[in-house]
Symmetry: C2
Subunit: 387 residues, 2 copies
């Protein structure tokens, strides 16, 4: 597989911009990071759908998950290697109705699809950051998004919406900037990463770092095909399994063989081909250094850090919310969303529990849009009433 791949799947300056727009979050000063240190320049790539109302009251922020990007809606095409990851929810007449709403999605800080990340050029050296790119936090991502909101003239979001790592950002928005969020839609997420999530994240990192082509993170000058694709593919494969469920795998693959049954170490079963395909697919479109750092940002996610714990932090949330869970999620377990919902209620918040009975596991937040859509619509209506 290696020969066909560039050193990184990151979008880089000079690549087709597609639907991206760019915001400079550091027009006059360095961007300070929660973990200490700073970045001289932060650019945030984003996309928008619909029209911003003159009073800027109709803006919704959609936050993407680990391997997502700003292309939440739209087609695959020049500059965008995938279709919009939430196409079913964003558009005219959809739950996030772009006839009414102004929907914004930005690539996270530390990502690899147009926002400043490890594959970006460090102005101090005129070379890619690589291993020198710092660890960023969910709070750092949100501060960069707040700068984007400022530049768009959006004082408060009608709703901040996200699943998984996107839900972590939405939660941080509601606590960091409680007066800039009028409602909150959280799917398949958590107020703090669990030991299980950290475990999987760690193993993915170990797989990437064990790849000799990773070169401790300084692989951007490698020849085509000589990047850390194999390590990233292994990390993706294991993540892919944690995103699904036994039920889905059994129904889809069972013990079906690719070609013929063989007593061999070579891929024999359909599920092996599926994993290889997904590993390679991510290596084509993602950057290994970003993968490490975004996973780490999720590990470090703890809404209660420096705030006296999660229940105390949630007291800042005064807006209506939905907390959606997918029953078969084995990575972001229903107990985590249940805890979050109950803590929101205990903090005096108007939280609605959305229990999605689906076999799709963690990926349910991307796939069960039919179940999410009416609940998101209700939330949007509720937040409009409170204007």
């Amino acid at each position: 597989m290696d020969q066909e791949l560039p050193a990184t799947g990151a979008w880089r300056a000079g690549d087709p911009v597609g639907e991206r727009k760019f915001h400079n979050a550091t027009p006059d000063r360095r961007f300070q990071l929660e973990g200490g240190g700073s970045l001289p320049e932060v650019v945030i790539a984003y996309e928008t759908w619909g029209e911003l109302a003159p009073d800027a009251s109709n803006a919704v922020l959609v936050c993407h998950a680990l391997t997502g990007d700003s292309h939440a809606a739209g087609r695959m095409g020049e500059g965008h290697v995938t279709d919009g990851w939430w196409n079913d929810l964003i558009g005219p007449g959809k739950a996030l109705d772009t006839d009414e709403l102004f929907v914004v999605c930005s690539n996270v800080l530390g990502g690899c699809q147009g926002s400043t990340g490890p594959a970006s050029i460090d102005p101090g050296t005129s070379a890619p950051y690589g291993s020198s790119f710092p660890v960023v936090s969910i709070r750092d991502m949100v501060r960069a998004q707040a700068s984007l909101a400022d530049s768009l003239g959006i004082d408060a979001w009608q709703s901040v919406v996200g699943g998984s790592m996107g839900g972590m950002q939405a939660l941080e928005w509601s606590v960091m900037y409680p007066h800039r969020v009028r409602s909150l839609a959280l799917a398949s997420t958590t107020a703090e990463a669990s030991a299980l999530q950290i475990a999987w994240s760690h193993i993915g990192r170990m797989a990437v770092e064990a790849d000799p082509r990773f070169r401790s993170g300084d692989y951007y000058e490698a020849e085509p095909g000589d990047g850390p694709h194999r390590g990233l593919a292994v990390a993706r494969m294991l993540a892919q399994v944690t995103y699904r469920s036994d039920e889905v795998f059994t129904e889809r693959f069972h013990r079906t063989v690719i070609d013929q049954f063989q007593f061999s170490l070579e891929p024999t079963f359909d599920v092996e081909g599926y994993l290889d395909h997904h590993g390679l697919k991510l290596a084509r479109r993602f950057d290994a250094n970003s993968y490490l750092r975004l996973n780490r940002a999720m590990d470090l996610h703890d809404l209660g850090r420096g705030r006296g714990g999660v229940p105390q932090a949630l007291k800042r949330v005064e807006v209506p919310s939905i907390v959606a869970t997918v029953r078969s999620d084995g990575l972001y377990l229903p107990r985590q969303q249940k805890d979050l919902h109950e803590q929101l209620v205990a903090a005096g918040s108007d939280s609605t529990w959305v229990d999605i009975d689906s076999p799709h596991g963690h990926d349910g937040f991307l796939l069960e849009t039919a179940a999410l859509a009416p609940r998101i619509s209700d939330l949007i209506n509720k937040s409009q009433e409170t204007l």
Copy 2:
């Protein structure tokens, strides 16, 4: 970590034998394999506890799981890098009471603790097999065990007992040699590997094979520290998570940090240190080529292959059995043991369902010995009555 480790963690000729005895399963002909091909020489390492009755009626075969070996009972010591993996069940007065029973456990064919496997010397080349060692099946393992039984003068086992891959062997015993098994104790196992199990197995293989020190399987001549330890450690880490559960990880680790909280890619949380420890520990005591092949044998496990399907195969089982499940097992799911139990009952077998309410996940079959012990005792008593 690499400098401290030999090229393989396999036991090799010349190492202390400890409690091992050895059986030559090929005194006069090559060992034919289910997948075609043959081995010129098969030696099976085994251990025994208790005394064989003059009529050989009191023998129990214990079958080990993926990374187990013949040391099912006993202490760590010269020749044995771990304590017996089922010490709580095997011994005087225990469920497998060695005052009454003659208990046998052999290292599987393809393993790395004394039985013929990839780290063994190929008599044809006088060098380790390495990449040339064939893929073996559960049925091959059982045929080698049957040869051992012959040599010990054991016509029929009072019980064949095993969890996980050990349960696969026990099941094959009952179908390949129905008249040589008088009862069957199956824990945390399945009649056929699921797509989910194959998926995890595949990813572990990819992690090992991606390690440049794996050298396609021919690493035995490597300098100390230059074996595929890193790939094997990643494979073990991911397996380790699938063996446990969210509940156990939360209780044991939650978000506790090793030293102090840091914004770093370096291991920060206790759960990361735990995984690194277990990865390294397996690399010290196991062989990467064996790991690949035993995992593959489990993938290929399908009790119904060539027998008209699982229900048809199970019609050969006429002895009492227990089928034990651990409710929190996310790798060998309770639905698999439930299916097996129901298929046994449907086939006319006296199967007893043992539902263990434990948070320990797949490793429950090693840890919940207090729950297993009385059920295994009952089964042994039952099989004695039928003598």
